[in-house]
Amino acid sequence: MSGQSSGCGFLMSVVVHGDSVLNEQEKELNQRLRRLYPAVNENETPLPRSWSPKDKFSYIGLSQNNLRVHYKGMTPRHTQAASRVLLLHRYMGIGLSAQGVNMNRLPGWDKHSYGYHGDDGHSFCSSGTGQPYGPTFTTGDVIGCCVNLINNTCFYTKNGHSLGNDLRQQSQYPNLYPTVGLQTPGEVVDANFGQHPFVFDIEDYMREWRTKIQAQIDRFPIGEREGEWQSMIQKMVASYLVHHSYCATAEAFAKSTDQAVHEELASIKNRQKIQKLVLSGRMGEAIETTQQLYPNLLERNPDLLFMLKVRQFIEMVNGTDSEVRCLGGRSPKSQDSYPGSPRPFSSPSHKASSSQPYLPGFDSNCCNGVTSNKSHSSSPHSHKPCPPGSGSTLPASDISLNGSRSQQPISSSDVDMEVDHFTNGVTESSSNGFLNGSSKHATEPDDCDADMEVESAQSKRQLCGGSQAAIERMIHFGRELQSMSEHLRRECGKNSANKKMLKDAFSLLAYSDPWNSPVGYQLDAIQREPVCSTLNSAILETHNLPKQPPLAQAVGQAAQCLAIMARTGSGSCAFASVDDYLH
């Protein structure tokens, strides 16, 4: 009989006639399975948790939550086998088989079936004749089976000791199920699919393979000529900087790494300007500027315009939008509290530049957002260009460059750093003071939060900044928005996303304190980021530039690749998570 579906390798052990208490420890089981099968998506490929009551022969009985198997037949089956049944040797086999094999036979005897038998210690590989493999086993022994999908090997364990790879079973293991076969009357087998700790130290075994895979990744050869790799990384970094409009940094980086920037500086600065407006909540100005600088863009993208307008409405509620601000609301702190552009991967540290190793001609002072102050001594080859996930929702992370990685809490000395950067010879033409490189994550304690708290302590946050005129403007704007929505639906058909967006935004008005309402999250500054990113991508697309930076794309591809590996049963993906390289 066999256990339920297995996805990506499996482990099990059987206690021959053990009488362990089988209390339900679902939580422990689930936790253990998650640890043991990090890459298995159980929605697609559920892991075996007990024996399948369907896939069994009639002489087999199940009990103890389908974990205990016993033999109900009165006489030993299989005449050819019966002669081999000795009193001392229980006739029993454990192993693997594909679905649909004959359940009236011991594992290993038929095609797509593999087994290790207790009476002679032989291994059977789709054949009635076994080969010497391990010791015999009998009552009281704990036998385990482990399939390694990285090197496609299988080994059994006896009482916690590995018996070594079963070389005959070195093949692909697509969709095999753990199987146990009995044919001695009264025989009982208890199974452990992870309900209890395994006697064999499987965690230690996994540690070894994790280390191996990671070493393999670290030592992966990166092409014949080192310069190519370096310049590719530099291009990726540069394009990332340009994409997110780290204008001065991008320029300095390009200069020191000797590459061309594929977008005009003015264009980058325009995008930066718009992004800054969005991120500081000044949506009205942002929309206006976009229309000025990129005429037709919003006309061609009514959904985008709608989204921007909804955001503007939210910012009005917040009291940050320029239209309500000029109507007597308090002056927003937003520009200072939410400086810069979309989230970069890390904040720079000017202190680091003197001590960290870097490639020749690579001035780390200039590579905003990618410097580190904690240098790993790994070689430049070993680094992985692993920027965070795709699209607008970039996870908080830094990238590693130069083999060095950094993760540092964002300090409140951002301003100092900026000054430092400006004095670092970065040519600065804009008077707008680009706040290069300083970054804020809402998930981390930063100035933004601090400011807000201070504000709320001083005066309670009020709708539209507390100005009556502003509230009227907001309500009027809301009506316009409503009619725009209706117009959109007539023109372009129903759009549930738009509908929900509007509904959520209007819901803010239903609460006396929208900030502390269930829909209050919309007022959070972090919600500006997806909007900002979508707008940025749209602008870039009009210039025939990629809407995603190659760096983000590479990360997305890597993650996707791992997911595909997991689905096809390529085991090493279990120990290679993109997140491990993004700190």
């Binding site: 391990g134 010791p135 006896k158 916690g160 000791h161 590995s162 018996l163 070594g164 790879n165 130290d201 230690d204 075994y205 540690r207 070894e208 994790r210 280390t211």
Partner: protein
Amino acid sequence: MACLLEAPLRISVLSEVTATSRHYVDRLFDPDPQKVLQGVIDMKNAVIGNNKQKANLIVLGAVPRLLYLLQQSSSSLELRTECSVVLGSLAMGTENNIKSLVDCHIIPALLQGLLCPDLIFIEACLRCLRTVFISPVTPVQLLYTDSTVIPHLMSLLSRSQRTQEYITQIFSHCCKTPEHQTVLFNHGAIQNIAPLLISPSYKVRMQALKCFSVLAYENTQVSMTLVNVLVDGELLSQVFVRMMQRDQPIEMQLTAAKCLTYMCRAGAIRTDDSCVVLKTLPCLVRMCSKEHLLEERVEGAETLAYLMEPDVELQRIASTTDHLVAMLADYFKYPSSVSAITDIKRLDHDLKHAHELRQAAFKLYASLGSNDEDIRKKITETENMMDRIVSGLSESSIKVRLAAVRCLHSLSRSVQQLRTSFHDHAVWKPLMKLLQNAPDEVLVMASSTLCNLLLEFSPSKEPILESGVIELLCSLTQSDSPALRVNGIWALMNMAFQADQKVKGEIVRCLGTEQLFRLLSDPDTNVLMKTLGLLRNLLSTRPHIDQIMSSHGKQIMQAVTLILEAEHSIEVKEQTLCILANIADGNTAKELIMTNDDMLQKIKYYMGHSNVKLQLAATFCISNLIWNEEDGSQERQDKLREMGFVDILHKLTQASDPNLSDRAKTAMQQYLA
């Protein structure tokens, strides 16, 4: 200085090089201390990685001057530090460099330097000391000559990670004997070094671990202390287990496994403790696998062999773990045929380790097969195993020969193997050859193996006899080593068992009665027991008894008397009484007892002894004397009746021991018939 360079031959070659080198040395003598300092710094930069320059400077006499500057309290700390750095650099060169440095008394000078309070200077001195002490040419005793050194080093352990690394490294290289272990132990090595096992520095952790492995080796006192040590609230054995985790560097896993192995062998950890059975043993088996470096495989196999040597359960587990028996067969495949063609460097590396690998594999096989018959069978069935042992026996390397013969010895404990594979492969031939001319340690093993090959059921017995083994064995009985004497006489004993008259005569003739009786008074009980065994085997079957007793009766009776009168163990006396019983079985030999009233009194005494075994043997003897069907049995029966033996026999028929009462009843029947 520089006197060596006056030789004209050298000047032509070296003049240019030495001119610059001489300049460096000359600058050490500048009256301006600032210039001296600059000179030392320049010298430091000049010697790094340049062995030729190092040798030149040593020849030119830089060392004594540097040492002088280092020791001078008037020198600035900076100068003294730079001096020790240069000396450390010189020590990094060849072994000859180290010898020169040691000859210049660098060690006491640097040890003296450790008394300085300045940490930078201390670290420089320690680094240099470390380099000197880890060289095989440095006598480790130099660390122990001044008894204040070890305690001072212990106190420096708290100063910095560097001092920790260097000092523990010095300790682990300089702890070679039980005396060294005791000195370090008495100065608190365990308490001082244990916390370093959780140091943030890998190097410190590793060196501390190495220290424990050399401290615990065959040392019960250290091992017993170690099991109770806590490091940050955790038992030391658990710390070692963590260091054996499979994601740790191999060096660390291996050394931690060694520590636990030594603690286990010293009796501090039980062999069935899970940290041995489920952690140490599997870890060591893993070390034997192909994926590791040759050195690691050697160390892994040797350590594993040592771990399970005394425990059959560990042997059984190891024999089924990861196909160990088959895995070891790979140890014989170096240098591999592939490496010979493709890669000279690899070939060289393989060749260098080939002997080590083979001896390690033999050792591990020996250990695996020392108790369990099934494992022995598995070993002999491994591909070409017997051929490998046979060729191992005649290898040039003594280590391999010794290990091969150990392996053979272990397998020779199997009756089945003696009857089959041993005979098929004529292992006795190389074994005999090995016995001709070998060091004692090899001889002990080889002769011990020979003992088994001479067992009665062994088919190899005949050809061995024909090869003139008796003389060889007799010469072994004259060895100074008790182990060799035992093996020699043991082999003779086995050989004499159920042997024909010719062989027995040959043994007696070759050994000589004088040597035989010398062995009967051997201080080693084992030798005595086996000699008695030999006598007993010689004195079996009636014609043999009569013949030997007719020629050597007097001496034998004398020896028997002596042994029975002396203080000996029950086993020795029992064996002697059995000899007497054999003598009583002879036709003419009987009379030697019957005419010896003193002897009869002794037999009577032992029939009433409190030990059943002795009673049984003595009764057996009397029973032989009074046996009916033989000539003169009536007279003997009468005489013995007169001496009161019947009463004793009668009493013994009531004995609680069934064997004894049966024997007595049988004897009584002789009177009734």
